[in-house]
């Protein structure tokens, strides 16, 4: 088993996400995280899916997603073949604000992005392991809420979807 990033370039039509996830569901492969956004190309969407599975499964899944009419092209990558990030938000009660917290924020390269009457929101960008480590520390600061995005990723190999589309 490996961690893979599946990167799909699609039309932005209703139902496309549904069709894509059905292929994972059918093979019993759990989706660890998923993000969708526009891409550099006009009207081309990208869906980034993180899964932990075998190479055989991920190859089959990628080929089957490519059969979906509105999928332009799919790729899969190992972690070392992509540059990726996730963003995490932490909600901390104002009462926990003290020099200890400030130190932690500096140490983790995090930042406060919002200060309200009763709480502050800290943001950190990084890999899951890093944002998770910060989460654990913030338990001591009575953290109220935590949310982490799915990964966004760009591939290291140089072929682009634009080249594919022009072909």
């Amino acid at each position: 088993m490996n961690r893979y990033t599946v990167s799909l370039f699609t039309e932005n039509f209703i139902g496309i996400l549904n069709r894509v996830t059905l292929i994972f569901t059918r093979r019993g492969v759990n989706i660890d995280a998923l993000t969708a956004s526009e891409s550099k190309e006009d009207g081309v969407h990208r869906i980034t899916i993180e899964v932990t599975t075998t190479e055989d499964q991920v190859i089959q899944i990628v080929k089957q997603t490519e059969k979906i009419i509105d999928v332009i092209k799919s790729f899969y990558y190992l972690d070392e073949e992509v540059v990726y990030q996730e963003i995490a938000l932490y909600k901390i009660p104002i009462s926990s604000l003290d020099p200890g917290l400030e130190k932690v924020i500096r140490q983790y390269n995090a930042r406060i992005i919002s200060a309200e009457k009763e709480f502050v929101v800290i943001e950190m960008t990084g890999h899951k392991e890093d944002t998770k480590a910060l989460l654990e520390i913030l338990q001591d600061f009575n953290i109220l809420e935590f949310a982490r995005s799915g990964r966004v990723a760009v591939a290291k190999p140089m072929g682009t979807i634009a080249q594919y589309l022009n072909n």
Binding site: E11, N18, R26, K63, E66, K67, I69, V71, I72, L165
Partner: protein, 564 residues
């Protein structure tokens, strides 16, 4: 100035006419009534067949599509009408049958509110369609239908579903039909990679015991002549899958038989003796391969296939040629050496003799009192034309009919292969017959399966389609009973049927009907049926507990094919 706009419902019909659709198989209801109303004025341009159930409509459209090679069209209402299509969609998807299905939907303002007969048809049908869409605006109707036909009929064909809200059907819009010629995210025909052809030729030219296994891809690609040319040049023996039957005439000297669980002895056994296995337009279904871990391990596999997702899915290949075999086969034929593998072919012929004495002769010329399914097929062969179409249901009769029917021409084998849908045959035979009323269409069906869609006798009556229905009655769900006998200690749990008087039922539908229980009358009755002008119903009472052999039990290797 006169308003040139027409209703969405009429746009639906005009679009189907623009696609040269000949038949619509359908069933009306509230949410599709505007389309039916529009249809009323187009009786001279497109024919509608009212089936007795929406499942019947979609199977009829499948039968039509597979005989004609064109996109089958089917219409149903929202809610239960649409959900009744689901089995047919799944069947058409797995057997690569091109269909455009149009369903009515509640008005768009009611979507998501659990309105009367609202179901999420797009959601229901998503895993069972090649593509589907909901149309809520009149201006989107014609483009959706155009796109649907393009997707259904190109590449690896499949069913599409277009769900049209009632308000879109009722709204006024301009009609102009632009056929869909391409979609940027969909490339149905990969360009042949010549280096793959060269590598394939190299492997084939070095082979001592090469072996071709072909499937429905040859039929879909209309590559029958290309396959024959390849075989004639290379002298390689060839066997077919269930849905590949007919792509090569069984009279061809290099045709060696049928693959799979109930296929022929030699083609299964020798799969594990060849040194190069050339798979053409087939997908290594588990019913063909048996245990994958012991399937053709000694062989280098060359796979000619249009669908990239099939390559290396079940069997890893040495060389894959990703293309329509219509294109790749001639290129490959040009590169391979002329050859002759007479010794190797004779191995197949020797084993064929073993199968003949152990199985075939007992099936076709039985000495016991009870009638066999095989002898019925033998007489059908005697009185059929070369282009006669065999439509079968699912079960023992399906395997026996497939084993013994003499396939001489392409598109003569219509059966539910991938899904194994009981109830498929009667409506599919109707559709097959309408695709060509001048061909003999014989529907071979079991007493279990016929009762799943028996209401379609009404459609046969109304259309007067001259289908020949041959019911092989063993008063059992025979195939399940066979498994119970062989693998469950003969514990016949709920497989015996108390059956009605089928002849009376057929007669009630105004069909000429006969029942045969003795050998003496069989041949003459089959002869009479085959030359009868209209629809004909023949019930043959066969031995209750006969089994189909050869057989590769589940989980066994192709080498373990059993003759008894």
């Amino acid at each position: 100035m006169k308003d040139s706009r027409i209703r969405g419902a009429e746009i639906v019909i005009k679009s189907l006419v623009a696609e040269n659709s000949e038949y619509i198989f359908g069933y009306p209801g509230g949410a599709i009534m505007p389309v039916y109303d529009a249809l009323y004025d187009y009786a001279d341009q497109i024919k509608h067949v009212l089936t007795r159930h929406e499942q019947g409509a979609i199977h009829a459209a499948q039968g039509y599509a597979r005989v004609s090679g064109r996109v089958g069209v089917c219409i149903a209402t929202s809610g239960p009408g649409a959900t009744n299509l689901i089995t047919g969609l799944a069947d058409a998807l797995i057997d690569s049958t091109p269909l455009v299905c149009i369903t009515g939907q509640v008005a768009s303002a009611l979507l998501g509110t659990d309105a009367f007969q609202e179901t999420d048809v797009v959601g229901f049908s998503m895993p069972g369609t090649k593509w589907n869409i909901q149309v809520r605006r009149v201006e989107d109707i014609a483009p959706a239908i155009a796109k649907g036909f393009h997707i259904a009929g190109t590449g690896r064909p499949g069913p599409v579903l277009i769900d049209i809200t009632k308000d879109a059907q009722n709204a006024l819009g301009e009609f102009s039909y632009v056929p869909c010629l391409g979609i940027r995210s969909y490339r149905p025909y990969p360009v042949v990679n010549m280096s793959e052809i060269e590598r394939a030729a190299e492997v084939i030219n070095k082979a001592e015991r090469p072996y071709v296994v072909f499937g429905q891809g040859v039929v879909i690609g209309t590559a029958e002549a290309e396959l024959k040319a390849f075989l004639d040049k290379t002298g390689i023996p060839a066997a077919c899958t269930l849905l590949g039957s007919g792509a090569l005439s069984e009279d061809h000297p290099l045709y060696v038989g049928k693959l799979g669980m109930h296929g022929n002895y030699a083609p299964n056994l020798l799969t594990n003796k060849c040194d190069v296995l050339i798979a053409i337009g087939m997908r290594f279904d588990d019913r063909v391969t048996g245990d994958l871990k012991r399937y053709a391990k000694q062989a280098k596999v060359v796979h000619l296939e249009l669908d990239n997702a099939e390559i290396d899915k079940n069997v890893r290949c040495e060389v894959s040629v990703l293309a329509d075999c219509k294109e790749s086969l001639p290129l490959l034929t040009a590169k391979v050496n002329e050859n002759n593998h007479a010794d190797w072919v004779s191995k197949f012929r020797e084993l064929e003799e073993d199968e003949k004495s152990a199985v075939v002769s007992l099936d076709l010329s039985p000495t016991k009192i009870g009638l066999t399914m095989g002898e019925v097929i033998r007489y059908i062969n005697e009185f059929k034309n070369d282009n006669a179409v065999l439509v079968t249901d699912v079960g023992q009769h399906q395997m026996i009919a497939w084993r013994y029917f003499k396939y001489k021409q392409t598109r003569t084998q219509i059966t539910s292969g991938g899904l194994g849908t009981m109830g498929f045959s009667l409506p599919a035979a109707l559709g097959a017959q309408l695709a060509d009323v001048n061909r003999q269409v014989v529907c071979v069906v079991g007493d279990g399966g016929i009762q799943m869609t028996i209401q379609e006798l009404g459609t046969i009556m109304q259309t007067k389609a001259p289908v020949k229905v041959v019911l092989l009655n063993n008063d059992f769900l025979g195939m399940v009973r066979q498994w119970q006998q062989l693998f469950f200690d003969k514990r016949y749990s709920f497989t015996e049927l108390d059956n009605p008087d089928f002849v009376k039922i057929a007669e009630a539908y105004n069909m000429k009907a006969t029942k045969v229980s003795e050998r003496g009358n069989l041949r003459d009755t089959v002869a009479e049926m085959m030359s009868h002008q209209g629809p004909y119903f023949l019930e043959v009472v066969v031995e209750k507990e006969d089994n189909v052999f050869p057989m590769i039990p589940t989980g066994c290797s192709v080498e373990e094919v059993r003759l008894t």
